[in-house]
Amino acid sequence: MKATVVQFPGCNRDRDMIAAIAKIGGTAPQLAWHTDTELPDSDLIVLPGGFSHGDYLRAGAIAARAPVMDAVRAAADKGVRVLGVCNGFQMLTEAGLLPGSLMRNAGLTFVCKEVMLEAVNTDNMFTERYGKGEIIRCPVAHHDGNYFADEKTLKQVEGNGQVAFRYANGTNPNGSLNDIAGVFNAYGNVLGMMPHPENLIEPAHGGADGRRLFESVLGVLQRDAA
């Protein structure tokens, strides 16, 4: 299993992501820098959270045009799994690898809190260890997490089973359409989500509901390699 975490200037959740992958997968991920034009051979590429390039222009906009993103796009096209969390999700929508866009939170304020998530589509390599419809806890910390897509795109996302997670029990923190917290691409090998599963993986975090996301995707990779 080879995971690679891509780092950008202004990332601040990269360390947590690296720790989660190392702890749960048993192997520390490889690291790539935003100016790299090639990525190491990878089964999973992760774009972590933070404020790449200071959120200038639009959150994730400048990172989405970084040299490394051509390599990420090429890998995704070949079926390599790509996970974007928070700012990473924003990068993936800005890069056109995921449908829709993430706008300023409806309440206009930065939200840092715990929300409840419904695992909507669990027939997927990222979510297979959650029960369909299972409600889990997960922290969020963002200013631009308000998921928007035009009517036609939203219909496709809903119709194709591309909704991975929804905010549940009235905990939508940002005004996202249809309470969408995370989406897959049409093929299911790219996942973007605003909540931070890497920050809820062990009792010291106050819970471990995020752990199974990594167990799912890292377990799938280990099975593939065997």
Partner: protein, 85 residues
């Protein structure tokens, strides 16, 4: 033919139908300042770009490319390019 210098103004605005919470907040603030009769505020961005190009048309084409590739997110935003000098 030598390239000429152009000054351009690029305006990026949210598409119709895209909720604009910042515009709404500004509208509310205007109301609280007793500016009556405001029926809508939409917030956008302005970019003043200086560039050289072989013609005005070439400058506009370049600016259009900038908008498509970076300045606007065409999922949610429209853009307009104007050569101002």
């Amino acid at each position: 033919m030598a390239d000429k210098e152009f000054k351009a103004r690029v305006t990026v605005t949210l598409k119709n139908g895209v909720l604009d919470p910042q515009g709404k907040a500004i509208e509310g603030a205007l109301e609280s300042l007793d500016f009556n009769g405001v029926s809508g505020v939409r917030q956008g961005k302005v970019f003043d770009v200086n560039l050289t190009a072989s013609s005005e048309k070439a400058a506009e084409d370049t600016l259009g490319g900038m908008c498509e590739k970076l300045l606007a997110n065409t999922v949610i935003e429209d853009y307009a390019v104007e050569i101002v000098g």
